[in-house]
Chain length 266, copies 2
DNA sequence: CTTGTTGGTTCACATAGTGAACCGATGGAT
DNA sequence: ATCCATCGGTTCACTATGTGAACCAACAAG
């Protein structure tokens, strides 16, 4: 293992729960020699990746990180950031994966990836603006967005499928509550006949829902089991996808998305 | 020089102007051996600090940076982030340095540092809310804030010193224009008799003005020369201060703040 | 077909990293 | 006041790790 990897690995020891670490803490957590750990910490500090509190002598994440992260979001287009994660997810699921960002109440296309495993698969046009209430993505967003938004969305005619009956406010509220508890939204044949999908929200740096990721699959292919399987895949990568865009998922939702056995293991 | 420092130094080669670098680019820029550079790049990539474009094979800043940067802003209080920069600035200037954030049209105290070089120095209470138009900070903010704000600020009575004549809209506009050209705002005896100050805006991650940094000094001490000297110190650190808070200064303002001889050198 | 790029790999060599032992300071317990 | 544990940090002999000249394969322009 390269010394570079060892040193950079130290940064991963810091977390929201454990934002400040002393020399001995790091030494214990890594099992490495104190002298080694110290030299690594000093090197990271000199590069600005760590800062040392002058009074407690504890280390915390440094300013160079925000500087470089800012550079990344400015110079790397969203699509590039998403590519590898979304490709992986599409490969694992064997279905069409789709990321949209919210602009007002429009779901605008950001990126998609499709895998050609199945003979029958979902295809779609990337630039249509589907109505919020007719998609799993739209409902996933509303279920995790701040409260007031629902009324505004209901008032906007563009959020509904033309010709369809207006959604009942009580019913919708009930469904969103279910989604918030379950961790993902689902949809069967609502937007296009024969197409089902599951979706989760994505969160920005301030942990606000601002985009969504969905998997679409032919309704014919799967019953409850398929839906649950795809939803699991989606939720398992939910945090990674938000992070790829520079966001962070609120901890209670990370928990919701983490399978029970994994939670027990950690 | 430690290999860790060498590897981390590679990240600094990336910039807004040069966001993607190939192996040979990095080799040229550093003068190090190609094999060495390559191993460093791979190590950084494996840690997520770099990503390699699969088609062009060029490297760009990676997702680990945004993840860690997010952690930093969540876990490290603003005051902690500012401390070292502001302390340095206060030491260099030998005067009181002051950082405020805008909440509506209130300048709320974030952090300050005072140096005890001079026998006569400015002291102040940290928690007063000075009127926007009576301070260098307030004017620095307005001069670099989006246009519509000025009218809203003029309409708000709290932005003006009680008892003072209402500011003339044309005059104010002219002054803000001057400030925008000069790069900093100034103030003599407006808020408190015998106290002058110079101020610059601070920018957030989206490059919007959201806070200010000012240096206060006794009017008696300095004429034009002192003011210019302190303003230079302030502007020289302007980018660093914004960055400490996770923001980034628009490039045209960085230029405005960079002395002519330094610009020629780089 | 040459010539000059590019990204990447190999291996003998020496430099840079390692860790046991040590130091001084701090903070409880006794 | 003394002991003991723990803290952050340093030293130095030893060797594992990093280094760089030489070497590929692939690609593009002349």
């Amino acid at each position: 293992m390269s010394t570079i990897a060892k040193a950079l690995g130290l940064l991963d020891l810091f977390s929201d729960a454990r934002p400040r670490l002393g020399l001995s803490d790091v030494q214990r957590l890594t099992g490495r020699d104190k002298a080694t750990v110290h030299r690594h910490l000093v090197a990271l500090e000199q590069a600005g990746f760590l800062e040392q509190d002058t009074s407690t002598r504890a280390y915390r994440l440094g300013a160079a990180l925000t500087r470089l992260a800012g550079m990344r979001v400015r110079t790397v287009p969203e699509v590039e950031m998403l590519r590898s994660v979304i490709d992986d997810l599409s490969r694992d699921a064997g279905e069409l994966v789709h990321v949209s960002r919210l602009q007002g109440f429009d779901l605008v296309h950001v990126h998609h990836a499709e895998e050609h495993n199945h003979p029958v698969r979902v295809s779609f046009d990337a630039y249509g603006l589907p109505p919020l209430f007719a998609t799993a993505s739209g409902k996933a967003y509303l279920a995790f967005a701040p409260g007031g938004l629902l009324d505004l969305a209901l008032a906007d005619p563009r959020t509904q499928l033309p010709g369809a009956p207006a959604p009942n406010r009580m019913e919708v509220e009930g469904e969103l509550k279910q989604i918030a508890q379950r961790g993902y939204a689902r949809n069967r044949d609502a937007l296009r006949l024969g197409v089902s999908s599951v979706a989760i929200p994505l969160f920005d740096a301030a942990s606000r829902a601002f985009a969504t990721c969905s998997i679409a699959y032919p309704t014919g292919r799967g019953g409850k089991a398929t839906e649950a399987h795809l939803a699991r895949l989606l939720m398992a990568r939910g945090e990674e996808i938000s992070q790829a865009l520079g966001g962070s998922v609120p901890s209670h939702i990370v928990q919701l998305w983490t399978p029970a056995q994994e939670r027990a293991a950690s």
